[in-house]
Symmetry: C2
C-alpha cells in the first residue's frame, strides 16, 4: 500500500503546513514538495493532483479521529459521557496542531461543489458516529425520545464547529479544550431556566 | 449618496446571481456588469473592485436583516419569542432567495484573512443583537443567569448556520423555515431528558 510508505505521511504533513500558511489556492504542489523534502515528481507517485492531496489530508486525519471516537464509544458507560469525550476530542485534535486547525476551519470550506461533496462525504463518517451516540442515549433514556436525530446532529456539529472557527479567527489565543464541558452542558440542558 | 442610485442596487442584485452561479473566484466584474445591464466602467463608479462588491452585497443584505431584527425585538414580549422570530427570520431570508443562500453559505466563506475579517466585522452587527436578546432573557429570568454569553452566542449562530449550510448542500430541496420551531426548542431545552 502506498499509504504505508513514509513519504506518503511526509507529504501529508508538509501539505498541512503549506496549505495553512499559504491558503489552498496559493499552495502549489512544488511548495508542498519542497516542504516535504521530496522532488516534485515524487508527489505524483502518491497523489493525482493538489485536490487529491487536500482530500487525502482530511481523510487521513479523519480516520485517526474516527478510530479514537470508536474507542471512546466502547469505553464510556453513558451516552452523555461519550458526547463529552467526543467534544473534548474534537477540540484536542485542533488544539494540538495549529496548522491543522487553520486547514479544517478555513481552507476545507471550498465552494467548488465537486470538491465540497468529496469533503462532506468524509465528514459523514464522523456524523455517523455522532448519530450512533445519540441513538444509544435515546435507548438508555438519557436523551429525549422523539428528537429529530438529523437536526440534533446538525446542532451538535454546528456548535462544535462554530466554537472552533471563532477560536481560529481569534488566532487560537485562548484555551479551546477548556471550553468543552461548558459546550457539553449547553447542548444537554439548553439555555432556558428550569 | 451613491447607494441610493438605482444602478447601485442593480449591480448588487446582479452580483448575487453571478457569484452564486459561477463561484466568487470565477465571477469576473465583466460578468456582473453584463448581468446588471451596465457597462464595465459603470461598476467602478460604485465599487473599488470585486472584493468591494462581495462585501457590499453582504453589508447591504445584512443591514436589512438587522433592521428587521430590531423591529422583532421591539415587538416581542419575551426573549424566547425574540429568539424564535430571529431564527425564523434567518431561515426566511435564505429561503426567499436561492442565490443569496448559496452566496452566504458557501461563497462568503473565503479563507483570505483580510477579506474574512471584513466579512466577520459585518456579521458582528447580527451577533450583537443576539447578545441583546440573550441579555434581556437573563434579566427577565427566562434564560440561565450565569450563562457564558460569548459561548451561547456561538452555539445559537453555529446551529442556525449549520442547518442552513446542510440545506444548501442538499440543493435546498426541503422546507428550511418549517424547521425553525424545532431548532428553537432544542436550543431552549437541550437534548437531555428532564
Ligand atoms: C448576503 C448576506 C445576507 C444577510 C442576511 C442575514 C440573514 C441571514 C444570514 C446569513 C448569515 C450568514 C453569514 C455568513 C458569514 C460568513 C462568515 C462565516 O463563515 S460565519 C461561520 C464561521 N464563523 C465565523 O467566521 C465567526 C468567527 N468569529 C469572529 O470572527 C468574531 O467572533 C467576531 C468578529 C464575529 C466577533 O469578534 P469580537 O468583536 O472580538 O467579539 P468576541 O465576543 O468574539 O470576542 C471578544 C474577546 O473575547 C475573546 N474570547 C472569545 N472567546 C473567549 C474564550 N473562550 N476565552 C477567552 N477569551 C475569549 C476574544 O479573543 C476577544 O478578545 P480580543 O481578540 O478582542 O482580545
Ligand atoms: C484535517 C482533518 C481533521 C480531522 C480531525 C477530526 C476532528 C476534528 C474535526 C474537524 C472537523 C472539521 C471538518 C471540516 C469540514 C469541512 C466541511 C465543512 O465546511 S463543515 C461545515 C458546513 N457543513 C457542511 O458542509 C455539512 C453539509 N452537510 C452535508 O453535506 C450532508 O449532510 C452530509 C454529506 C454530511 C450527510 O449527507 P447524507 O448522507 O445525505 O445524510 P443526511 O442525514 O444529511 O440526509 C439524509 C436525507 O435526508 C434529507 N433531509 C435532511 N434534512 C431534512 C429535512 N429537514 N427535511 C426533509 N429531508 C431532509 C436529505 O436531503 C437526504 O435526502 P437525499 O438528499 O439523500 O435525498
Amino acid at each position: 500500500m502506498k499509504k504505508d510508505k513514509p513519504k506518503y505521511r511526509q507529504i501529508i504533513d508538509a501539505a498541512v503546513i503549506v496549505i495553512a500558511e499559504n491558503g489552498y489556492h496559493q499552495a502549489q504542489v512544488s511548495k508542498i514538495a519542497k516542504q516535504a523534502g521530496v522532488a516534485d515528481g515524487t508527489i505524483y507517485l502518491y497523489f493525482k493532483n493538489k485536490e487529491d492531496i487536500l482530500i487525502s489530508v482530511f481523510s487521513e486525519k479523519m480516520s485517526v479521529f474516527v478510530e479514537n471516537l470508536k474507542v471512546i464509544i466502547q469505553e464510556s458507560i453513558t451516552a452523555q459521557e461519550m458526547l463529552a469525550r467526543m467534544i473534548e476530542g474534537h477540540f484536542k485534535v485542533l488544539s494540538e496542531d495549529h496548522h491543522l486547525a487553520v486547514v479544517t476551519q478555513l481552507e476545507l470550506r471550498q465552494s467548488n461543489k465537486d470538491l465540497r461533496l468529496k469533503i462532506n462525504h468524509i465528514l459523514k463518517e464522523y456524523l455517523d458516529l455522532l448519530d450512533d451516540i445519540l441513538q444509544r442515549g435515546i435507548q438508555a433514556g438519557e436523551f429525549i425520545e422523539d428528537m429529530d436525530l438529523r437536526l440534533v446532529r446538525q446542532v451538535i456539529f454546528g456548535t462544535v464547529d462554530e466554537v472552533s472557527t471563532t477560536w481560529v479567527m481569534k488566532d487560537q489565543k485562548y484555551d479551546l479544550v477548556e471550553m468543552a464541558p461548558r459546550v457539553h452542558e449547553i447542548l444537554l440542558k439548553g439555555i432556558q431556566t428550569q
